[in-house]
Symmetry: C2
Subunit: 286 residues, 2 copies
Amino acid sequence: MNIFIIGIGLIGGSFAKDVKRHYPDAMIYGVDENPQHLEEALSLNLIDKKSSYAELQLADMVAVTIPVDVLVRELPKILDAVHDDCLVFDAGSTKSLVCKMLKDHPKRRNFLACHPIAGTEFSGPSAAIEDLFQGKTIIICEVEKMAFKLQEKALKIFQQFGMRIRYMNPEAHDKHIAYVSHLSHISSFMLGKTVIDKEKNERDIFDMAGSGFESTVRLAKSSPAMWTPIFEQNKDNVLETLEEYIQNLEAFKQLLLKEDYKGIFTEMNNTNKIKEILKGIPLNKQ
Amino acid sequence: MNIFIIGIGLIGGSFAKDVKRHYPDAMIYGVDENPQHLEEALSLNLIDKKSSYAELQLADMVAVTIPVDVLVRELPKILDAVHDDCLVFDAGSTKSLVCKMLKDHPKRRNFLACHPIAGTEFSGPSAAIEDLFQGKTIIICEVEKMAFKLQEKALKIFQQFGMRIRYMNPEAHDKHIAYVSHLSHISSFMLGKTVIDKEKNERDIFDMAGSGFESTVRLAKSSPAMWTPIFEQNKDNVLETLEEYIQNLEAFKQLLLKEDYKGIFTEMNNTNKIKEILKGIPLNKQ
């Protein structure tokens, strides 16, 4: 089996590691616009061969793991180049635009729109993790638009890699993921900014930061090149969540200004039920 | 050595575990207004004996690890009850009020105002962790107000338990800790609230939440009984940080509304330097 990975970063590289384990005979071709990443992926043994679109007709499967702005530009070209039985899937954090863009593509039946809810705040080939997908959810959109035989092939692999498969339509995906992922990133980036701005002349202050601070600002290490186009493509949903978040913070501020500590206690107490929700989230192995 | 721990929760219980390891001959007396916690602490072997203020004259050292509202009420009584060579210290997340309240107490020289930057989002005796303080910072305020001999005794123990000691005045402590700890808790609680409010009828949605979401809302599991009085005592500083945070979120929202994606990229890119800052934060062992 010839597997192409377009974009050898955290997701593409982790996928390659799982392929190597489950399909030792597979040949992994790497494509990346960053020649350094490609070199690194080769030396890390994530890929077997550096490649380019010119060889795409050899592919039995193509994983397209690149930022969502490059994704909508490149996917039509990739689909144009592959043969009729080739499975192509993406891993982008937005699903509406990519589904819309490919709606009338002659090879639409070769494409599966996917979003594996897996990753870390790091990027690049060296960030790839063994078993990243184990126990994680993968959202699949418009499964019915793919050829039966290729659906079967894709699902088998995702199951082998330990993923929990969930089907949604692209609009529902983008709406809900804004709440449980995109908003967290904005909250984290702006929290990091607030503290850095205030404390820029007080380097010692970070001695005072503990694991709680670390946890809430961890996502502010994420790649701006990956996240800017996500916010762009999901602008309307993200704006809605952000507006609600700001309103809740403003309401908390008003309680504090009014010294309504009973109100503050109640707000926190009601939100404590997040414990139950978080119990179900699989974390990466340490 | 007779050691009293007033409040056998995460911090008091973890302190007890370290005492047991470093001072196997020490006798640990537990005091807690919650009889169930006291019973649990005994059965977990965190304390050797259930006790009360009536026995406080036996104490060589008293760790007062209770919420900051109870702390300012109880500390004067505790200091009244101990003998002249007894070391008393607290572990509260605010330092100005407690220092002010005890300023003229006849046993002021027996008291050390401390804030170990250590903990998790959990509480109660079962949340106690072996080696919690290893590598963590402890902020000490107004060290000069304590008797020399007792200073020495306290510092020796904190060093034995692996803590990095930092001295600050109470006002500076409260101002900076608002940025690197108190604000993170509000950000996390309100993020949790935003998502729960929106998604209350869509339980499946939390299948879409990944480790990034988990990280940013983790602190929303924290105890409202502990955090409400912290926000009350540090109201002015917390309001300032919250106001700046809301302004930064609002500015991000405006960039998104104006579709200024270059501006959004720049904001995130500038905040990426949080990577360097976070490198220095010691985390709990998994």
